[in-house]
Each structure stands twice: as C-alpha cells, then as structure tokens.
Amino acid sequence: MRQSPTGPKVLVALGVALLLAGSWWGLTKAPGEVYMGEVQRIMYVHVPTAWNAMLALSFAFVCALCFLLTNAWKWDSRLEAAMEMGVVLSLLLCIQGSIWAKPTWGVWWDWDPRLTTTAVMVFAFGGILALRAFVDDPARRAVWSAVACIVAFVDVPIVYFSVKWWNSLHQAQSTPQTVSSAFHLPLRVNAFGILFLWTGLVALRSRVASLRLRNELGPPLPDSRPAVTGAAPIAGGAS
C-alpha cells in the first residue's frame, strides 16, 4: 500500500482555495440582508458546514455498513476518519450556531432543533471515538464501532423530531429556512470548498488509520478481519 498522498493534498488545497474565494465573496461583495444586517454573512460558512457535517457522518454510516458486510479493514480505517471529521465539523457547527444566536436571539443557545440535534451528535459520535480508544483488540474495536455508528446514525432523525416537537411548545421563532438567490454563489462555493477539504482530509486520515493498524497487527496484514475461530461462525444468531 504505497499510496501517493498527492490526490488528497490536491483536494485539500482546492478546498481551501474555494473556501477563501467563497468567504471573500460573502464578506465583501454580497449585499447585507434586510432584517439580519451583517450577521447574515455568518450563513456563508454556517450552512456549508451543516451540509458537510451531515455528509461526513452519512459517509461514516456507509463505511460502518460496508465493514459489517465485507469485513474489510479499509472500511474500518475510513470509518474512523469519517467519524473524526464528522465530529469536528459538527462541533464547529455548534460554535458557529452559538455565535450566530447571540446577536440574533440574545442568548448563546436557542435550542433550535437542528443545532440541538447536532450537539447530541457530537456527543454520540465522540463517544464512539472514545470507545475505540479503550478497546485493544482491533477486530472487536472495528465491529463495535461499526455497530455503535449504525445505532447512533439511525437515532439522528428520532432525536431531531423529538427535539422539534419538544421545542415547538416553547418557541415560535425559527431560524430562517430560505436564502434568496443573491446569496447563492458564496454559499455554493463554500459548500464545495468544505466538501473537497473534508474529502481530502478523510482520505489522508484513513491512511493514518491503516498505517497504525498495520503496525498493530504486524505483517502480513490480511485484507479482511480474521474469521471466527472454529469451523462455523456462531455470529449472526442463526436459530
């Protein structure tokens, strides 16, 4: 596995360039919004971060499924990378949301369903990363994090709807849903910027995980997780 890191590095560089361009546009050229004034400009990083945080964690979910179905180590490495990236983006999202809330609603946290769900996701997926740190056996670590990731991901819509109903009893206000067309360009540029950035970083981070795994298991690295000892695997609960 002598993969060249050029691909990911190009992605990261491209992502950064797009982000700089999009942010510059959003900060200088785009008009201020009617009711929110200058604070609206936070949306040019906040909305793209939201899209990409969700994308990264969705990719983590796919990796978890792929690992459980194929038992190939590469999916475990990608899972670790995607979850870490997802947690970072989600944490960033919460901070951005908080900074946006203060001048708008006067409080640092307004229990907006989407942001609150994101906060729960930070804890949920952060917890899975913590779980990985405490499991020494690589095979077990891989299976357990995949299982935990699936359960956590399935839970996300439930958390969202329950917080939405819970909050609707207290709050009439809501965060703006639509962004008018004058603002689309910086939004899209930044969205792709963060997309390329996180894709490149996840690719690199997966390689870090693979290299560490290779070190842990000692050569030669099997392509798949070793099968269950014994003639027939008891896993799966065949009854």
């Binding site: 890191p5 990261v12 982000l19 942010s23 900060l27 009617v34 009711y35 929110m36 004034g37 200058e38 604070v39 400009r41 936070i42 990083v45 906040h46 971060t49 990236m85 970072v88 944490l91 960033l92 901070i95 951005q96 900074i99 946006w100 203060k102 001048p103 708008t104 963060i194 950035l197 970083l201 690199l204 981070r205 390689r207 870090v208 290299l211 560490r212 290779r214 070190n215």
Partner: protein, 51 residues
C-alpha cells in the same frame, strides 16, 4: 427599534475566525499524524530490508 440587527461585525469576524482556526488546526493535525506514520513505516521497511 428598526427591526434590523445592528452592527454585529464582531460576531461575523468571530465565526469566520473560529471556522478558519478549527479547520486549519484539524488539517494540520491530520498532516502531522500522516507524516509520523509514513516515517515510522519507512523506518520499519528499512529495518526489514537490512535483516
């Protein structure tokens, strides 16, 4: 009260700065970890080759 949020540039600046800081810090940590692992793998390969 005109109904428009006044000023707020410090919040905008804060948001962009936090975004830039967190993303660059994380990217740096990934690159550093990658370099460490590459070096370790190279050293191992060399040791194997010498044996």
């Amino acid at each position: 009260m005109s109904g428009v949020v006044q000023g707020g540039w410090e919040f905008v600046a804060g948001a962009y700065i936090v975004t830039a800081t967190i993303l660059s810090a994380y990217a740096t940590s990934v690159f550093l970890r990658y370099r460490t692992e590459q070096r370790r793998a190279a050293a191992e390969a060399e040791r194997e080759a010498r044996k």
